[in-house]
Symmetry: C3
Subunit: 347 residues, 3 copies
């Protein structure tokens, strides 16, 4: 596919400066781009590269220096880049129907143009929306509901009765609806609390690979619309992940914790159970959250504290041994001084 720079400017709603008739066929970073590519400046740190890039055109922020290059000016060049990558490289999945070797149970409701690969499994009473794609080894247990344009990659499991919205993508190996982790001590043994609730995933959610979203004990574990969850993330039973949250890789959220909207949790963060994390809270990578956090706060550390406070404490941590030596030296000097003063008094 080729597009002229004018066409791209119009597609993005940006302002063209330069040769609008230039034909471009792809997108690349400033370093890698050739003349057939459009590139972009997202981080001002790399502004000098605009002068040296071989790209045929560059997406620039308002006021960005074009160094004589063909440019499209727009408010958010990074978003523009994303849209052009989509335009040039992303194609709707090919509709392949129910392929030989796919397993489809009884009383299943199928939308139009579904694709079920060999080795995928659809249990009894399942509902699949239009254009759903189930890759090989995707297992949809009895009674689950999958919305339109949702894609389950290879070896994803969706357990019994869970409900997934439309335009959801779930990457390989992720598990939706495994049992929550709950036991009551019964004499010497752990008696299992049956986990009879479900998981509900709303529209436009994306979940990475090998993550696990546990079903509720009773009721619902809820992933709200537009939330984005990375790889190897654990969401425990009865959690609510608010709309448009961003949960980075290897985060663990314990049972019954509720996240507001637009919460960002950095990689490897752990959140204890039964907490409330307010809207737009941001938590630094590897932090451990033991308490509620009010809306809008930025937290870091283990245990977590306001980010600025943590930055100061973290910077001084390597100096703790030196601090201890200072304290001991002060105590010694002080003792000597007191001894000296007593002695001089007795003089």
């Amino acid at each position: 596919m080729e597009k002229t720079l004018s066409e791209l400017a119009e597609f993005l709603g940006g302002e063209l400066k330069g040769d609008g008739t230039l034909r471009l066929s792809g997108v690349a970073g400033l370093d890698e781009a050739k003349e057939c590519h459009i590139s972009f400046l997202a981080n001002p740190k790399y502004a000098a590269k605009v002068a040296t890039t071989a790209a045929g055109g560059v997406l620039l922020p308002p006021g960005g220096e074009s160094h004589g290059k063909n440019a499209i000016y727009l408010a958010n060049p990074y978003l523009g880049f994303a849209k052009l990558v989509t335009l040039f490289y992303v194609h709707p999945p090919q509709v392949k129907g129910i392929m030989p070797g796919a397993f489809v149970g009884a009383t299943v409701s199928l939308g139009t143009d579904v694709t079920i690969y060999p080795g995928a499994f659809v249990g009894d009473g399942v509902t699949l929306g239009d254009r759903v794609v189930l890759f090989p080894g995707a297992a949809v247990y009895d009674g689950a509901v999958i919305g339109s344009d949702t894609i389950l990659h290879a070896n994803v499991s969706v357990r019994e009765r869970c409900r997934i919205g439309s335009r959801v993508t779930i990457h390989n190996g992720t598990v939706v609806g495994s049992d929550g982790f709950g036991y009551a001590l019964d004499g010497e043994a752990h008696y299992k609390i049956p986990q009879v609730g479900i998981v509900v995933i709303e529209d436009d959610v994306e979940i990475g690979a090998n993550s696990t979203i546990d079903r509720a004990a009773l009721g619902v574990t809820l992933i709200r619309r537009g939330a984005k969850i990375d790889n190897l993330v654990q969401i425990a039973h009865n959690c609510v992940i608010g709309p448009h949250c961003v949960i980075v890789s290897q985060v663990g959220v314990s049972g019954s914790t509720k996240l507001g909207k637009y919460v960002t949790l950095g990689g490897q963060v752990g959140v204890a159970g039964h907490l409330e994390i307010g809207d737009r809270v941001m938590v630094g990578a590897k932090s451990g959250i033991h308490n509620d956090i009010p809306a809008g706060e930025v937290y870091s550390g283990y245990p977590a504290m306001p980010h600025k406070q943590w930055l100061k404490a973290a910077m001084i941590t390597p100096k703790i041994p030196e601090m201890r030596r200072s304290i001991m030296a002060l105590e010694k000097r002080f003792k000597e001084l007191e001894a000296r003063l007593s002695a001089s008094k007795e003089d």
Copy 2:
């Protein structure tokens, strides 16, 4: 299914107070319950909700205030709740036999009433006990042994020659018997230590989703009876997880470490290799264990220390910068004082 309150009291061995003829059809939390439900008070914090719940009956601890509600008194209402959820909602899995699309190898020994879903794989020489269920994509490699009433969910792998007991449930995507991580440096490259041992999982164990239990280098990685392991947990080669241990999500236990019985490891804990963790030890979430821990201790932190000590240290951590300022101020005042004293002496 409906049960009278009398029947439920008898089933639980509790003491009925109220209308024993009331017919109930399910279990729900105090907030969500309707008249057809039985609810429960497990946490005294919520005692006031007993007055306002719409539940037809409530499980109460000895001496709990019933606020005029129908009640069943018993020592552990949370356990009673678990048992009633089991009674009302949990049904033995349907026996489906070897379904079309299931792959069963040669010289396999099958118990009675097994269920093997399409896409599940049973290698050569495998033994499956009675009523075993293998969901789609469960892969049991050659020579493995699976005990009676054990359930392997979709996309679980049990590697060659591993042995799993009875009444074990393994949730989706979990891997039992992958190679332990061991290499010896051979000149410039890492030479693999072949991992020729196995994993043995005893009876009544439950393992969550996407966890990994590595096979031993030589000998056995052992998960003892009644242990409960959550999602995304890593158990390395040659570990022993003692009876009735509770291992929360995203924990990692390094090679050859041995846990006693009833050990609890909180979420995201890491335990170094070749350690001994005593009976009934509890470790707080996100802790890092570098040393043995004697039986009965409670530890937290990174590196871990007795929990009470950690609580104090953690509370003061945000104040470290302030402490440093105090030390520097003291040093300055001290220097000034010494100067002043020297001066006054010279007077």
Copy 3:
């Protein structure tokens, strides 16, 4: 299989001391070995066990005391052990061809002697080298390339167009080529940055179970030759993992970070994005890396610092409350002293 001690000495290039005609049939630890076994002393801590082992022969380091046992002396007994375990117990996988129930797409290029188990999936345009083994549920998406003697265990996913070298082993459930985690805010919602790059894994790499290696946004996520990656590890988009790196379980490496050669990351380490970690750097378990690390350094802690510094800081951390009390006591004593001095001056 049986081998004489002479044959083993010759195979290992070691020096025999004792009865070279003794026939041995396996390898075992010093404690577990019987007369038919050869054992080894890798850790000098266990030297006394050489006297008491029942092993027919022992691998010893130069100058090691044999206590009258048959011995083979060699520079690295641990490596010798690994080689003997391979000799006695490791057999090349049986060639089984394309088994019934395997799914093979169109225009696939297959090497000689491949094994494709039932339930494995090979997409259109895939290339498989000689002797490749795909276990059940392994899913190789369209256009991927898999080198000779590479083994994909059950339920591994290799996504579209990714390229894997020769003699690579990937354990169960691992995902190669899932989408990197990248979004640009578009008004109220997250607009997905399409991840149109690939993953390239070079020769002689081993990856554990349930790990995730994300494909690049543009370009390549690269795992270089001989790198060893454990279970549940996350490698984000556009990372480079250098030759012969060792990445222990549950590590997370964020986007675009580059590791040199022979880097070792301990369990549960987290590395931020866009960093450079130099050759032969070692990072202690559970550390959090926020900055570049120069070649050859050893780091630990969260945030990470030079290991020796961290050891000192970590040892003193439990004493922080005591330090604070000391500071407060000093301040009090100082105030009293100043008061006393003022008073005595006024005398």
